[in-house]
Assembly symmetry: C2
Homo-oligomer: 302 residues x 2
């Protein structure tokens, strides 16, 4: 039996792994696909303190080397579910059952895709799902924001201070966002709101975004807009189906400041939990706390 | 008037500065003494993800360069107090008043010193105030833990799994720590408890700790113990006197997961707040959230 099983090999999981190895917990990290998580697909990250500019993949290689250098065992397998049997937790995987005294869920979240042609190919080349992460790359450029909720409208405001021009595209004629945020974007001179419009296609040249094709749903007209960035905020899905702890309406695991979930011995860290900000910097903080609290939990239940 | 004043130039403050610059907030960071905070005096830090081993000062230089590269203004001055005048906050400093829409307090905390001869000189050379930070440097070595509270007793347990032998020195004959933690250290074979003992002196050779001199208070006898590390847990003082927000009994600022304090527009980040873990990794997460929330606060109060 392990002391600790960490599920997910992104920044939160790898940081938990670093702390667990240092605390001499017998630990395994389970990863479904590829170490690094969402950030590994980012071309450039410039807000993880200590690295002014590095590729997402490059930063995650450093995290992985750091964790492996401390002896962290990483196993590639898919987790099907977790059950608690008294003090033991049983993690059912595609390669059989694993048991541990404590679990850290660090499975992250994925932004929803629109499914527009060009979106996938140009992700990280002008298509982004995070203004805090990528906004500063578009200083004095033209960008488009897609979506009608709070995030879309707030991020349009945020981007309007960096970009020279922001198109805000929403498929309905009313926003779901708070009135206050709406009024702000309406009053911002460099934000142009395209209500009842959908993004149909993103076009690139030389591997970077150059144009967006939008359709006016009321008049069925198509038009092309020249721009450098497209920010898509149509929702985010945490990867939490496999674990039966308390979650919010969006599926994010409810965890307190100690990263404790509703089941003792199961901790959550990073984007998969109810966190105010989805960043490498915050995932790292969560991962460190989760491992420290898991160690405390294991010690006090010996 | 500034948008944001950040008080304190350690990991939390510098990270908040990085995020604030990227969000184009007109920001100044105020530092009393020296950029870097407590961690800058650490010889080696091996648990900030991405840097398997770096000096505390070296890591903080990287943070400072990162923040300054984004244009962060750093001013050296001492903060005397903060008052709220409607939506404005006034920061009184030794060089006059500064005004801002929002404040981030990131002033950190200092472990209490015993004041024993050798303690100050050998800090970072075998004398430590953080087991999570420095424990792994003492693998299979002999260490001493000084203190009688929860932290001392829990950290003695933690260190007993790494070090070959742990002396736990407490000046009273009873521990203040929770009974459960006490029983654990009493049952751990490689922990030797020295009740009614005080640490009188720490001796070094070649610049590193080699011996501790303890006194048995019941028999007034002195003895020397050969060892490599001395961990001192006799309390920690946050630097929070200058700000009048809700605090816990230890003086740590009460802040929620959004880093909000009891006064709207004043945020707290890092070791100065009620955080479960005092680490660079957690300070970085706090700093990012505090800046993001400060930006939201400023936007919504325009």
């Amino acid at each position: 039996m392990y002391d600790l099983i960490i599920i997910g090999g992104g920044p939160a999981g790898l940081t938990a792994g670093i702390y667990a190895q240092r605390a001499k917990l017998n630990t395994v990290l389970l990863e479904k696909q590829m170490v690094g998580g969402q950030i590994a697909v980012s071309d450039v990250i410039e807000n993880y303190p200590g690295f002014p500019s590095i590729s997402g993949a490059g930063l995650m290689e450093k995290f992985e080397e750091h964790a492996k250098g401390l002896g962290l065992k990483i196993q590639f397998t898919e987790v099907i579910n977790i059950t608690a049997e008294g003090k033991e937790k049983v993690v059912k995987t595609s390669d059989g059952d694993l048991r541990a005294k404590a679990i850290i869920v660090a499975t992250g979240a994925r932004p929803k895709r629109l499914g527009a042609p060009g979106e996938k190919e140009l992700t990280g080349k002008g298509v982004s799902y995070c203004a805090t992460c990528d906004g500063p790359f578009f200083r004095n450029r033209t960008v488009m924001v897609v979506g009608g909720g709070d995030t879309a409208v707030k991020e349009a405001s945020y981007l309007s201070k960096i970009a020279s021009k922001v198109y805000l595209v929403h498929r309905r004629d009313k926003f779901r966002a708070e009135k206050m945020h709406q009024e702000k974007v309406e009053a911002t001179p460099n934000i142009e709101i395209l209500r009842s419009h959908t993004l149909k296609e993103i076009k690139g040249e030389g591997g970077v975004v150059t144009k967006a094709v939008v359709q006016d749903l009321k008049h069925c007209e198509m038009k092309e807009i020249a721009l450098e960035g497209v920010f898509i905020f149509v929702g985010i899905n945490p990867t939490t189906d496999f674990v039966d702890v308390d979650k919010d309406e969006g599926g994010f695991i409810k965890a307190n400041q100690k990263m404790e979930t509703s089941i003792p011995g199961i901790f959550a860290a990073g984007d998969c939990r109810t966190t105010p900000l989805l960043q490498v910097a915050t995932a790292v903080g969560d991962g460190a706390i989760a491992a420290y609290m898991a160690e405390s939990y294991i010690e006090s239940h010996k």
